[in-house]
């Protein structure tokens, strides 16, 4: 494998990284909203959130991609390859992140919430001082898991015509007939990208660590 081919892979890995990071960021934001809905007492909000989660977790990402790319234009909405890919990745990962968030909030000990109520905190105070800090610490590992999973799943977006690292590796291996070194290089690039993500996750956990005096 020449440097030129490796450079092409690195370039494609750049698209993988950018699209995945954008999807992770949008996914967490949408996930927060969906999680809020899923935890709400309002029946309608609750139902909508649960519907959202079951759709985006239930339909395979590959099919979601094709739905966004092919079905939306048929309904009169023009979408580019890139926006279809970003839309599907973000909305899909949002469903998983919403469940991760919900899991975090459900795991906040009941006794702490009762204690907060006892000392007269308002609901907002209780959320800011007790529930959110505890929940965030609890859900960080699983949210990082999902971030890494969506980075890997981004290999699927080539089906709507976005060139990312897996697709580039396929292109190069089918024209050079040397799949092994090319896929090995692509694997290495994924390893580096997930390494950076995992490192960021650890850093965040360390920053948020509770120090017992």
């Amino acid at each position: 494998m020449t440097w030129k081919l490796f450079f092409l892979l690195v370039q494609a890995a750049g698209s993988t990284a950018l699209i995945s990071l954008a999807a992770i960021a949008i996914g967490v934001c949408v996930g927060v909203v969906v999680c809020a809905g899923a935890l709400a007492r309002n029946r309608l909000l609750n139902g909508l959130s649960r519907l959202y989660i079951s759709f985006f977790r239930g339909v395979p990402l590959l099919v979601q991609l094709m739905l966004f790319y092919y079905l939306l234009p048929a309904l009169g909405v023009e979408v580019s390859s890139l926006s279809a890919a970003l839309l599907a990745l973000s909305l899909c990962t949002a469903a998983y992140q919403a469940e991760n968030l919900r899991g975090g909030f459900l795991a906040v000990p009941r006794s702490l919430i009762e204690a907060a109520d006892m000392v007269g905190m308002t609901a907002a105070q209780r959320f800011r001082r007790i529930e959110a800090p505890i929940a965030v610490r609890l859900m960080l590992p699983s949210m990082m898991n999902e971030a890494i999973a969506i980075l890997h799943a981004s290999a699927l977006i080539s089906v709507v015509g976005v060139i990312e690292v897996t697709r580039m590796a396929q292109n190069l291996s089918s024209s050079t007939f040397r799949p092994l070194p090319i896929y090995a290089a692509a694997g290495l690039l994924y390893l580096i990208m997930t390494g950076v993500l995992a490192g960021a996750g650890l850093l965040a956990e360390r920053r948020l660590r509770v120090r017992l005096s």
Partner: protein, 272 residues
Amino acid sequence: MNRRGLLCAAVIGLFALSHTASADVLAEVKKAAVLKVGTETQFAPFDYIDSGEHVGFNVDLFAAVGKEMGVQIQWVALPWAGVLPGLEAAKFDIVAGPAIITKERLERYTFSVPIAEGTVALNKRASDTAIKKPEDIAGKAVGGGRGSNQLAQLKTFAATLTPPATVREYVGADEGMADLAAGRIVAYSASLPNAAAAAKARPDMFGLVLPAFGSKAYFGYVGRKDEASASLMQAVNDAIDKLKKDGRMAALQQKWFGTTFDMPAMAAASAI
């Protein structure tokens, strides 16, 4: 070429229902002065990425066709699983696969006039001296691409041998050729131009087993089979016929395949 992904096939049904047909595709193409062509870019020597550049027989041929029609060519590169759904959803108007023209496929799609011969040949490992002619695969494991015409022909051929060869199915040529290199099969069936390209790209690893066998088959470009697309396919055919007459087609075939082919004039006549 192979048909990948049952999942995608299921989704095609949806698109077929929802696909909004325009009145006349050729008129729209002329108006925009752009012909959108869908392709896979993993089908050397027809269409592939060479050091980052999209090149191949298709690229040159469509450049000439575009010139004849007075339109720009805009390439839309998708994995094969997305190419036919994309055609049906009108993301582009013709597919530069190309695909072998078969009677079964003609029932669902329109094909251009033949552009190359695609009779089946085998790739083997260059180091394998036991296989000198196609019949030498008797009793051994061989492979072909799922859904491909080459696989169907290989199966027919394998069954006539004593003892018959075992045929394994692969998602695509990349996987099959990787298994050939790994020694799990002794030969992989591809169309003659593709098989020759593999042997040429990696002479240290792959060899070509001649002669080609099975029924003579031809490659054509794929279009939608609706009335709106008929005029476009006719215009593409007219352009290709012109290239055939003035020798440009033969020059392109010589450039990319190292040989020229005698081809039937019409898609229907070349279907197998």
